[in-house]
Structures are given as structure tokens and as C-alpha cells.
């Protein structure tokens, strides 16, 4: 299984590299926004900085979610195009194992990105402390939202990626991801949004599995 996961990660190294740059830039953006506010704003640093709150959602969250959507789509598309599963199935690797390893590689990347941004935020607040303690629960919710949205983006990517039509893969996946992301705009980061995202994510993964397992290799 671990070999398969390693192979998945190696296959998607281009996208993972791009995602790593994106996440690193996001981490820098988080630090820079808080630092800038701390140094230049004449208003006392209280609560979650507005730059950070807006940054997480309007830019970082959207870009990372779309990035993971591209990653999911890329993995499936490359598999179909280069007949990777066809070859792997001749080496005692079942489709179930290949698909599971693909999900594991995606989840690994999502977890890594989320953790990196959480650590960055925690370090930033230690470097530039707020005058009043921040509601930690709130930051955890933001992290949970990032994780759930990224997972949803990734699973929708897997679902739309297993197709011969490359326009459907790229535009369809991005369209669906934007549609799901838009829900957060009016539902906020409430439990309802998190549950709905988890449901969409699970359903998309199951649907992608059916598409993948039922098609001829």
C-alpha cells in the first residue's frame, strides 16, 4: 500500500510542487498580513486580524481548494491517459488498492497543507501577540473549514477527472468546486457547512469509485 501511495505522490509531483509553493506563499501571506497590521495600524491589535480573516477565505481558501481540485483531476486524468491502473493491475494491485492509495495521497497533502497553515498562524500570533486572547475555537473552525473544503475540492477533482473529455475534467471540476465554495459565503463556517461539505466530499469519493471501478481499463 505504502509503495502505491509513494508512486501516487511521485506521479503527481508537478501538482504537489505547485501546491507546496502555493501553500508556502499562503503561509508567508498570513505572516505578512499580521505583521503589517501590527506594525502600521494605529488601532490596537485585538481579535483576529481582518487581513488574516479575509485572506484565509477570499484568497488562500479559494486557491488551495481549487489547487486540490486540480490535483484530484490530474491524478485521474494521468491514470486514464497513461493507462497506469491497467499496468498496475497486472502487478497484483487491485483497483480498490490503487484507488485507496490515491485517496490516501490526496488526504496526506490536504492534511499537510492544513497543518502548515495552522502552525504558521500559531507562530504568527506568538510573534505578534494580540492584546486580548483570541477565541481558539474559532481558529480551529477555520482550520476545519480549510480541511473540509480542500477534501471536497479533491474528491470532486477525482470524480470529474475520470473522463475522456479534458474540458469536462478541468472546467467541470472547477465549476463544481466554485459552486460548493460559494456555499460558505452564505452559510459561514457553521457546523451546517462543515457537515454539508463532509457529505459532498464522501458522496463524490463514492461516485468517483463507481466510475473508476466500473469502467474498462
Amino acid at each position: 500500500m505504502w509503495t502505491l501511495i509513494k508512486r501516487e505522490l511521485k506521479d503527481a509531483r508537478v501538482v504537489i510542487l505547485a501546491m507546496s509553493i502555493l501553500v508556502a506563499l499562503s503561509a508567508i501571506a498570513i505572516m505578512a498580513s499580521v505583521w503589517h497590521e501590527y506594525m502600521t495600524d494605529y488601532r490596537p491589535p485585538v481579535g483576529i486580524p481582518m487581513n488574516l480573516a479575509m485572506g484565509w477565505f477570499s484568497l488562500i481558501l479559494a486557491l488551495i481548494t481549487l489547487g486540490f481540485n486540480v490535483m484530484g483531476g490530474y491524478q485521474m486524468r494521468v491514470d486514464r491517459k497513461n493507462k497506469i491502473s491497467t499496468y498496475l493491475c497486472t502487478l497484483h494491485a487491485s483497483r480498490r488498492k490503487i484507488y485507496l492509495s490515491r485517496i490516501c495521497s490526496g488526504l496526506l497533502c490536504v492534511t499537510f497543507a492544513t497543518l502548515l497553515l495552522i502552525v504558521t498562524t500559531a507562530v504568527t500570533f506568538r510573534l505578534f501577540p494580540r492584546l486580548i486572547d483570541i477565541d481558539a475555537d474559532y481558529l480551529w473552525r477555520m482550520a476545519a473549514m480549510l480541511f473540509c473544503l480542500s477534501c471536497t475540492g479533491y474528491s470532486l477533482g477525482l470524480q470529474t477527472g475520470w473522463s475522456n473529455n479534458k474540458y469536462l475534467t478541468s472546467l467541470g471540476g472547477a465549476g463544481l468546486t466554485i459552486l460548493v465554495m460559494s456555499m460558505v459565503m452564505f452559510k459561514g463556517i457553521a457546523n451546517e457547512s462543515l457537515i454539508l461539505l463532509a457529505v459532498i466530499s464522501t458522496l463524490a469519493l463514492i461516485r468517483a469509485w463507481y466510475k473508476y471501478s466500473e469502467s474498462s481499463l
Binding site: 479575509m54 456555499m183 457553521a190 463514492i206 461516485r207
Partner: protein, 522 residues
């Protein structure tokens, strides 16, 4: 097992389609509402200003202000912003209001050096001095606590003997760094913390059943543009203008709005309600799309309040003006009609059509739950459309006969019913053509009857996609994996392929063969 798997696949695809389709529909309806409201409220409604002379509050100045009537008006274009705010409320509220401002920072003085905040760890209010030191290009902020306040008193040092307030206190928007008035949701008491005199006053405990034991707003509330007309306000003689203050209920009062829409006047000296009926919204806040209540004071004395409300259907707004004693002294209303705008009818029709694309089973659920969902939640709901035409009708016709209600609901849902009939017909035809079993066809029919268009999309996604061949018996297309043709039930005539007794051989190969074998082959 395979059949069960297939059913599960259909279920998963259906659910996913339902969620994504409902989301897409939400944005379609939202876009229609945006166009409707923005065009209407920046166009025809712009002239529709409600003019109410607030000077009626103040008899002693009525004569002097006769030439300068203060008008309360609906702000131009404010509604559009309000609508946006409501839709994106969670997004903005979570980030900008709930955590950044209201919960943490209760009051900040004008030079931003002193602040009152609620300490989540200790449960006490803290008055602190904020300081910004700049040395060697480095900036360092620090907070130095000056006083701590708990239910038991105010002290310059923090101590558990001060007690603790409950989490998320409902703070008056009129709070300052000297005086903070709030409602403690846990203790169900109102508190007035005076940091200058180091006193804490508390009201008696309110019962759970008491509407003021569960208030919604303390101080004032401003959703949208009900305010003094700035032009008329500017024309008032300066000495009077200084004495007449908007959004301030006087020194010793504060207003409290309960969840039924009644406004009470709270006396800060006696820590009890002077009047339980200082004003009213006319309906529950949860049943209003937007509302504003603004107190007025003259020479620090409470003079009355103006209350404006826009109902949840966005078709009715009213303005009530209450005197100091809570008597209604002026009531005006406007019926809002977006249809008078030339594109109004088109967009209303599109909106109605989009509502009809919603799954019928959710429409039925909406019909029975419309009055239980608040206006704000209804605007943001994806599945239960309590603000749709059907939801509105359900609320408005609550007292009518059942047959009347059902008849009207059928008329509203008529496009949906027609669409479902067409879809059922289409799916039945396609399913027959594809040779689905009668029970499968029936299941799809029920599915479309309950879920409408999303079910049809699901059908298009998961229907059998095998390549068909022509039947030798009836000439129609038949499924190759079935034993019998799904149309004429004829058997699958598979030609029996028998290998020929001869075979072509290479000349070199032929030379190697013995003569008898050559003869046998021939």
C-alpha cells in the same frame, strides 16, 4: 450484490446531484432577487421616502421647528446593501463582528488608548490601557489592566471573589469605557458596570418565560436607512441640534428588544423596566427581513423612538413613531411593488420558474414548515425555501380552508407538476426502450415524482449505456446482454460458428506435410 451496488450508486449520484443542483438553484434565485431589489430600490423606491416629522416628539420646540421638519427616511440604495449583508451575514458576521469586534472588545475610547473587554478565561470585564511603543523601528503593543469587574464588584486587582459573568454577554451598543450595560444570558440578569465609580448594579433575575429574560437587542438596532434626513437636520438651528440626539435614549435609560418584537425601556437607576411597551416592531424580529429602532433624546432626556420594519416578503415596510410614554403617535406604511419596474415582471417570473425546478418533496416540506423558519434563515436556505412564493402563500393562508390552501398551492406548483409529468413520460419511454424491468421503471417514476429535475439528471447520468444492436425479429434496437429482446421477447439468434475443415497453409509448410495429410486436407 451487483444489483445492490447499482442501487447504491444511483442513490449516491442522486444525493450528490440534489445538493449541487440545489446550490446552483440558490444562486439563480439569489441573482434574480438581487436584480429585482437593486433595480427597484435604486429606481422607483428612491422617491418613496416616508416623511415623518419627529418634531412631534417635542411639543415645546414644535413651534420653532415648524419650518424645519425633521424627516425620517429610507436611505437610497441602502436596501441593496442590506440584502447583500443578510445573504453574506455569516461570512461577515463571523469574521468581522462576532469575533473581531463584539465579543472581545466591548468598548474603545475615542483615542483608542482605553478599552473594556470580556476576558473569556476569567469571565470578567477588564478595563485596560492599550499602549503602542516604538523603539528601533520595532513596534510593541501592550495592555495594562486598570480594573476588573465581576458580578460582585469592581476592583483594581483581579480576584475570583469578583465572580464571573456568563459567556457571550449581550452588550448594549451604547457602552463606553466608563459605563457598560449588558444582559448576562447565563444569570438572566441585566448589569450596569460603572468603572468610574467602581460599582456594579444588577437587576433581579428574569424568569425563563419572561420575554425580557431572553432579549434580542440591548440599546438600539440599525439594519438599514431609517434616520433623520441629513438635509432637514442641517437646517435646524444649531443650539437645538446639539440638544437633540439620535440613537441615544437619554442618560438614565436603555432600550431592550425582546424576541416578540416589543421594545421595553429600562431604567438604569432602579435597574428595572420603566415600561414594557416603549415601542413595538409590529411583528417578531424573526419574521422581519430588516428592522431598525432608534431612540431620540433631548437634553439627555428620553423623548421617544422611531421603529422601521421591512417584512420578510420584501413587499411591505412600515414606520412607527412612539412617544416617551410608548404611545404610538405616527404610523405610516408603504407597499413595495417591484413589478412597476419594467424588468420586474420578467425577473419575478424567472424567480418563480426557478423555484419550480426545486424538488417537489422539498416544496411540500417547505409548505408545512415555512412559518417555523426565520426570515434570515429562509433567505439563506438551500433546501427548504420558506421565502419562495409557495412558502409565503403557506404563511398567508394559514387560516383558510384546507381545500383552498391545497388549490392555491397546486396553482403555484403548476409549472413543477407539468415538468414532472413530462419528465416521467420521457424517462418511462427511455427506460422501456432500454429494457428496464417494470419495477425499476416504477422506482424511477416515483423518484422523479418526489425529486423532479435532480432525479431526471441522475437518470441521465446512471442509465444503461450499452451499445445496442438491431433485433433480427422486430428490427428495433435491443440490448446485447439480454437473452430475450426487450421489445419482442425473441431469443438471441447467435449464429453458430463452426470452424472450416480446410485451412490455408504456407507453401514451405506444405512441403513438410506427408502426402496422406495433403490428400486428407484436400
Amino acid at each position: 450484490m451487483k444489483r445492490l451496488n447499482k442501487k447504491f450508486n444511483v442513490l449516491v449520484t442522486g444525493l450528490l446531484t440534489l445538493i449541487l443542483f440545489s446550490l446552483a438553484l440558490f444562486w439563480g434565485r439569489h441573482l434574480c432577487q438581487l436584480v429585482l431589489t437593486s433595480a427597484y430600490f435604486s429606481g422607483p423606491a428612491r422617491q418613496d421616502i416616508m416623511e415623518v416629522k419627529v418634531t412631534k416628539f417635542i411639543p415645546e420646540f414644535d413651534e420653532r421647528l415648524k419650518g424645519f421638519p425633521i424627516k425620517v427616511r429610507l436611505g437610497e440604495g441602502v436596501f441593496f446593501n442590506q440584502y447583500l449583508n443578510y445573504i453574506y451575514d455569516s461570512y461577515f458576521h463571523d469574521f468581522m463582528v462576532k469575533n473581531v469586534r463584539m465579543d472581545d472588545l466591548i468598548a474603545l475610547d475615542s483615542v483608542m488608548s482605553k478599552a473594556v473587554y470580556y476576558d473569556r478565561k476569567t469571565g470578567r470585564l477588564v478595563l485596560a490601557r492599550f499602549q503602542r511603543d516604538i523603539s528601533d523601528r520595532a513596534v510593541k503593543w501592550s495592555a495594562k489592566p486598570i480594573a476588573f469587574a465581576g458580578p460582585k464588584g469592581v476592583s483594581s486587582s483581579d480576584s475570583s471573589s469578583l465572580g464571573r459573568f456568563g459567556e457571550s454577554p449581550l452588550i448594549s451598543r451604547l457602552g463606553s469605557t466608563q459605563e457598560v450595560f449588558f444582559f448576562d444570558r447565563n444569570a438572566r440578569r441585566y448589569y450596569l458596570v460603572d468603572f468610574d465609580h467602581k460599582t456594579v448594579k444588577e437587576s433581579s433575575e428574569f424568569a425563563k418565560t419572561d420575554p425580557y429574560g431572553y432579549p434580542l437587542v440591548v440599546g438600539f438596532h440599525r439594519d438599514w436607512g431609517v434616520r433623520m434626513d441629513s438635509r432637514s437636520y442641517a437646517e435646524i438651528p444649531e443650539d437645538l441640534r446639539k440638544r437633540l440626539i439620535e440613537y441615544y435614549p437619554g442618560k438614565d435609560n436603555n432600550l431592550v428588544l425582546d424576541r416578540s418584537g416589543t421594545i421595553g425601556r429600562f431604567d438604569l437607576n432602579t435597574m428595572s423596566f420603566v415600561s414594557h411597551q416603549a415601542g413595538s416592531l409590529g411583528d417578531a424580529p424573526s419574521n422581519s427581513f430588516a428592522y431598525t429602532f432608534v431612540p431620540y433624546s433631548m437634553d439627555n432626556k428620553y423623548m421617544g423612538a422611531a421603529v422601521m420594519r421591512l417584512n420578510r416578503t420584501l413587499r411591505w415596510m412600515d414606520l412607527r413613531v412612539f412617544s416617551e410614554k410608548g404611545n404610538l403617535i405616527k404610523y405610516e406604511y408603504r407597499k413595495l411593488n417591484p413589478w412597476i419596474w419594467e424588468g420586474g415582471v420578467t425577473f419575478s417570473m424567472i424567480n418563480w420558474f426557478l423555484e419550480n425546478l426545486h424538488p417537489p418533496i422539498l416544496d411540500v416540506a417547505t409548505y408545512f414548515t415555512a412559518d417555523k423558519i426565520s426570515a434570515l434563515e429562509g433567505q439563506k436556505s438551500i433546501f427548504l425555501l420558506s421565502e419562495s412564493l409557495l412558502g409565503q402563500t403557506s404563511r398567508e393562508m394559514r387560516d383558510k380552508y384546507l381545500w383552498e390552501r391545497i388549490f392555491v398551492a397546486f396553482i403555484i406548483m403548476s409549472p413543477s407538476i407539468v415538468l414532472i409529468c413530462i419528465l416521467i413520460f420521457q424517462v418511462n419511454r427511455e427506460a422501456k426502450f432500454l429494457g428496464l424491468l417494470p419495477e425499476s421503471r416504477r422506482a424511477w417514476k416515483y423518484g422523479i415524482l418526489l425529486f423532479g429535475l435532480p432525479a431526471y439528471i441522475t437518470w441521465r447520468i446512471v442509465r444503461p449505456k450499452e451499445v445496442m444492436v438491431t433485433c433480427k425479429n422486430c428490427g428495433k434496437l435491443r440490448r446485447p446482454e439480454f437473452e430475450n429482446c426487450q421489445h419482442c421477447k425473441s431469443l438471441w439468434h447467435v449464429p453458430e460458428i463452426t470452424p472450416p475443415s480446410w485451412r490455408v497453409v504456407e507453401s514451405s509448410e506444405a512441403c513438410d506435410l506427408p502426402a496422406e495429410a495433403m490428400v486428407k486436407q484436400a
